[in-house]
Subunit: 104 residues, 5 copies
């Protein structure tokens, strides 16, 4: 149950909720998805009602991938959204119960 | 027995099955393989029957490598496939039994 | 309480203070923010009164992201600032109390 | 005794043998070395008599570095070789005895 | 006392000495510094009297950053130097005493 992946679409935020069974989320990668424009698409996230922070900026035919190395285990909602014309695929994994004292 | 590598070919999915002896798989890197087109090739993966997620997009002569940082230990099948004209080489390693309490 | 993000603006340093509850800060990513110039923007940091060190250099439409992998837990002030015309968004996470002997 | 570095030359494989004192090898980085051609150079590795896997592809004046994140602790020979006109410098580190239960 | 940063200048090596209080050094990032040439600058390192290894190659206006992931805890001198016209800023952190059995 380690892998995690979502596709975030322009105009449609994806909200991540922490879940005890899955544990802390490690967000590893953003990749440009479908969309015909050559304009850039920015991935941003906001935690609770804090100011959104840009996590990466993807440029078609130039920079279509961005490694990330972020972790989320907050009780508050984590909202991922896209500024721009493309969808952005996110991938990562859950640490699960093995990391923090569980058995393997 | 740490290193893991496969070559994923267009039109031919590679399926990863979890194995207790090898343990959790860490997928570290994707590199563009053979293929004569200048078009991009996308690596995607799906876990069980979930929607495929793009893991990276490789552009000949521009972006031929992509670091990944993904982990897989699901009981379900993990299917890697390529959208595009090139093969993609994947490399990574197994955590094996040393990580979770085994002896070295 | 893992995620951390700030937007550093040209001419306006951001100062990070260590806090026992949050623990060590892992700075993971810098992404170019708003600004109309095509000139590069450099992120630098200085610890206490030491010489500033460039952490990354971002080029509009070419290199808008830079993965970082830095950790801060000093008692001294850590000052992040931008040389150039764009804001730079920083993201990362706190290790919190789980890492160093706390319960999960 | 942490750091590890080698220069792999075209036509001359480098073979890594596991050694108990050094422990698991972490391969962190490939960088293009000397060579006058503008053609790309590919780093590949094979474990024992398995099929070689491309680890990265380096393009002069465009992509001269590639972060890797690979680990090797196999009893079999690990053979690194270059396809192309340039040497490739590899760097990384050994985990040594501290990781798996040794004292520091 | 986690953060570590230095600026390495052409023609002037920087020598790192291991120190028990600081512990193992993690070198995380190289960023191009000042210099007016458009030529590339290469960061190399040598441990003791071993052959220098290229760690990364930075190209002005194209590739001005390079993530590294190297660790040093050798008793021998570690010498960083630049081949080329620019300074290179290095950043990273010390693991300190928390990693290997110290209290937090």
């Amino acid at each position: 149950m380690a892998f995690w992946g979502v596709e975030v679409k322009p105009g449609k935020s994806y909200i991540h909720h922490y879940n005890d069974d899955q544990g802390r989320l490690h967000l590893s990668q953003a990749t440009l998805g479908t969309g015909s424009s050559a304009k850039k698409s920015i991935l941003q996230c906001s935690v609770g009602d804090k100011q959104p922070i840009y996590l990466c900026s993807l440029l078609p035919e130039k920079v279509e991938n961005c490694p990330l190395n972020l972790e989320f285990d907050e009780d508050e909602e984590v909202t991922f959204s896209v500024i721009g014309p493309h969808t952005i695929h996110l991938s990562g994994f859950f640490f699960g119960e093995n990391e923090d004292g569980g058995e393997s």
